[in-house]
Symmetry: C2
Subunit: 447 residues, 2 copies
Amino acid sequence: MVTMTTTTSTALLTDHYELTMLRAALADGTAHHRSVFEVFARSLPAGRRYGVVAGLGRVVDAVESFRFTPEHLAWLRETGIADDATAAYLAGYRFTGSIDAYREGELYFPHSPVLTVTGTFAECVVLETVILSILNSDSAVASAAARMVSAAHGRVLLDMGSRRTGEQSAVAAARAAYVAGFDATSNLEAGFRYGIPTRGTAAHAFTLAHADEAAAFGSQVRALGTGTTLLVDTYDTREGIARAVAAAGPGLGGIRIDSGDLGAEARAARAQLDALGAGSARIAVTGDLDEHVITALADAPVDVLGVGTRLVTGSGHPTCGMVYKLVSIADRPGADAPMRAVAKRSAGKGSVGGRKVAYRGLDHAGYASRENVVVRHLPDAPEAGLGRALQVPVVRGGNVVHHPSLAEIRAHHRGAKAELMPLDLDLAPGTPRLAADPTALTPTTGA
Amino acid sequence: MVTMTTTTSTALLTDHYELTMLRAALADGTAHHRSVFEVFARSLPAGRRYGVVAGLGRVVDAVESFRFTPEHLAWLRETGIADDATAAYLAGYRFTGSIDAYREGELYFPHSPVLTVTGTFAECVVLETVILSILNSDSAVASAAARMVSAAHGRVLLDMGSRRTGEQSAVAAARAAYVAGFDATSNLEAGFRYGIPTRGTAAHAFTLAHADEAAAFGSQVRALGTGTTLLVDTYDTREGIARAVAAAGPGLGGIRIDSGDLGAEARAARAQLDALGAGSARIAVTGDLDEHVITALADAPVDVLGVGTRLVTGSGHPTCGMVYKLVSIADRPGADAPMRAVAKRSAGKGSVGGRKVAYRGLDHAGYASRENVVVRHLPDAPEAGLGRALQVPVVRGGNVVHHPSLAEIRAHHRGAKAELMPLDLDLAPGTPRLAADPTALTPTTGA
């Protein structure tokens, strides 16, 4: 499948200050010093007990597409953002460093080192914005989606939120929701680009476009078969259900209800469908669902839940607070130059210097007991006894070495979520039990 | 300027159900019936007194780029989403109808008919998702931005939120903020694609990358001149300011503070800068600003306000509730077929049939007094005495006839906002005084 969007350059999805820093660093030589940048969140959104990492696959694509075109370079020169040396550097830009990261679908907590970028200061510093844009937005959707999946208890969950977020964010949101366990999406580009199952039947406009509801249902059944789902609430839901069964017969695939008290409507619909002999017709509900509404529908005879606004806007938390911080840098060029840990001391926004590695401690029953985050010098030497290693090599020498399928990502997410205790999955506001303790980290001079 | 992104096909930024409806409508002939779809919001986000329309220019681009590629069509056939007739229709798809809309930057209220699409049912129904994605997300940002502009009372406002929203939504957000009066953005793609001024100097990483703060400031001043803005809070803000003036001299352009009590920090910084002879150095503050924090900084000596998360996430309301509803359709093909008004009666989600036109009533002092929305048969016959006409022709016969510059859009926004009364601009929660009253609308059978 060819998609022009994903092969488009991502080089200007970048904050101005990154190129300004690059310019000064090229002039003073710092540009060529080996550096380590880390992505982490100081906290989760208020009340959340865990977060879900999503977007890593898109980050990899964005880094590979981070190339400046001649038009970009001409514009950067014209505007004075880049001088000759900066433009020359950008013309040859290609990321040649390493990326390690939490697997996509992995859970994260405060101070989890979600993604680590290693390379020259120059090649790392320019990636800040596009990496954070993707991780912050995709993880926000996945984190909300995971809560909805818990609330749904196995019922079918559909993403129908494309119209409530930016047109490209909609595609990313469909992917993030799928990572976290949604079953399908309404978004066709997500189907085309990522192979995510898509679903959809009809809107109210289709019914209104016909002389009456019976004509609309008859047309839909002729075109799509009796297994289709008919939207029954355009005029009167009781009459709509009767017409739906009349149009499709007892083999009607399903009905959708988009208004009213969804629990009461579903119960009445189930009784009516059963009485009409359409016992196998499934009931789909849509309209301002979120994890709490889904929980409230636990006892209602609802088979399919279509979620829109609250999914793609992170159910009250449309972005994560992930930041991209320099934690270690060499004082001279060269791969063998010694590294020093660095950290800022800004009020309330201090950071911990040194490259971190992370493990999920597990108790004897297999439940996650602790997010073990340690600073260390040799990034590839495993510590023993700290638990499940959370970071995997994603890019080495500029080449992508991590290629999980979406099915593998979904499976990893299910496994990681299965390590949580019931109290971690509680949808009520709480605190993340597994927050890493940055004060317990021991920066070493060698890190 | 050539940007691949904006010329990429938008055809699959579409919900599955639109093509399912198309398939059934092609089979039964409804596809070719002349139709009118309207975009409106039933309400504003809770507590908001007005909304700002943004994204119209992007909608026009998206409609022009709504073309199905051979790869798209092959995929739609493979998946069974499209049958032969549907694929054949989509292969030749090109919107040939009309669009009328509120100007970009215009204010809107509940039930304002923000955008009207006229054409065959087939060519209109497939545009629902991409139009709503753009208008709902861009208008959410512009609506938040307008409140921040009011709070800033003329101080410089910068969009720095790219990292807190999807990477393409970040570009759209920069544009929407600029429409509503922001002065510049950090987002380079927004500068490249739309000509929006961009700004940026350095992050904490730049200071940390150097042996000490003095070395970092010295390098930045050498590369960017004494007029640059130095970030002073990496270690200790008092010392940072002293080093900034030492590095740049009394002609220092400015400092940025990103942590602590921003009002208190700004006051202390102003006194310190003045005492050091750097009276012309401007003070920029960043860090979790929104319209309320900006208001609280009214008396602080802050010259530049950089807004991130709360801008691009709509300051608590990341999407608008705009919907795309069929309001009128012919019962047979042909441009001369009579139209009938249609409306759904779903509980709590009813609509008003018939094509609407809208005027902003103005009182004798020039203040907006009423959103006059009326249903009418002949869309191009002006009503007298109802006020300022709010809709303009945007597309005619598939051709774009409305080409405002961003400068014109910004000017229109300023003028429309100047028609509001002080109470409409109050940032405290309130109700929109100018909500159109849908029950006062009189659907006519001819509409």
